[in-house]
């Protein structure tokens, strides 16, 4: 595997869409799921990342609770089992509130998810780097103390209370402290243009406990 990898700039092409903003909606699970679908579609089809509907996942994903909470694995399971395509954000735009499911058969042009995995890689984070060579990963983390993050590598100040879902879009092991490049959904004005760096190897913030891959 390469010493560093960044799906935002992989062979001079970006496979990652613009950073989104969940605002006051606790739908990080839906944002990270949709963002992963966007990137995997882009990588597998060799096209720029589409802007897919997070709102569709918030409103329509069964067994989840919209802006009140949810689970990335349950959302991916729903996408696979239901064969429902993830439509574009233009067709089903983001409102950042929980609404009724408004998906109509006439709008059934979108990206279908064929398979996914949900695994723990605690104590085995090298495997996460191997997985990252295929595409980004959705992970669940303890983000309690991320609120005022500005830059640098998160190495301390984290517990294991899983309360947020984000997407790892790359890593860098060339420096003294190897780190994941983590895409957040708190807007581009958060952290490093919407991203933050988290140390690799010690399950910092519980980052290796709930890891998902996805295929379209």
């Amino acid at each position: 595997i390469p010493k560093k990898l960044d799906w935002r700039d992989f062979k001079n092409q970006s496979y990652v869409s613009a950073v989104k903003n969940q605002n006051g909606c606790g739908g990080c699970w839906a944002f990270s799921t949709a963002e992963l679908v966007e990137s995997m579609y882009s990588i597998q089809k060799h096209v720029p990342p589409p802007d897919l509907s997070v709102q569709e996942v918030i409103d329509c994903s069964m067994y989840n609770s919209g802006c009140q909470g949810g689970d990335t694995c349950t959302a991916m399971q729903w996408l696979v089992d239901s064969h429902v395509p993830l439509v574009s954000d233009a067709v089903y735009p983001l409102t950042d509130t929980s609404e009724n499911c408004n998906l109509l058969p006439t709008s059934f042009t979108g990206v279908k998810v064929s398979n996914f995995t949900c695994q723990s890689y605690m104590g085995n984070e090298y495997d996460m780097l191997v997985l990252l060579s295929n595409g980004p990963l959705t992970v669940s983390v303890d983000a309690t103390l991320w609120a005022n993050y500005q830059g640098g590598i998160v190495q301390h100040h984290c517990g294991n209370t899983i309360n947020h879902a984000v997407v790892i879009v790359g890593y860098d092991t060339t420096g003294d402290i190897p780190y994941y490049i983590v895409r957040n959904s708190w807007g581009p004005d958060f952290g490093i243009n919407g991203y933050l760096h988290v140390k690799i190897g010690e399950n910092i913030c519980g980052i290796a406990g709930h890891v998902s891959t996805l295929y379209v």
Binding site: G26, M62, Y63, D71, L145, A147, D189
Partner: protein, 79 residues
Amino acid sequence: HNQSNELHFRFNIFKENLYRIEKLNQQSNKSSAWYGVNKFSDLTPEEFKASYLTDLKPHHGVLKAKGYVTQTEKLYSLN
């Protein structure tokens, strides 16, 4: 008057957050993360948690009544 109270309340939260940020930065070394004032700096930890963090446990059994399947079934029955 209410607006003035709110501003005072937010300013106190801001000061508490500033203190928390300074403490986090004191514990950091050169390559560690650093923390500072941003758009969340006038929110209490509880407000931040309520708005930006969430319960990530699976919600099995909480079936959304107005989901995709229900709508499709309705459309088929219309046909």
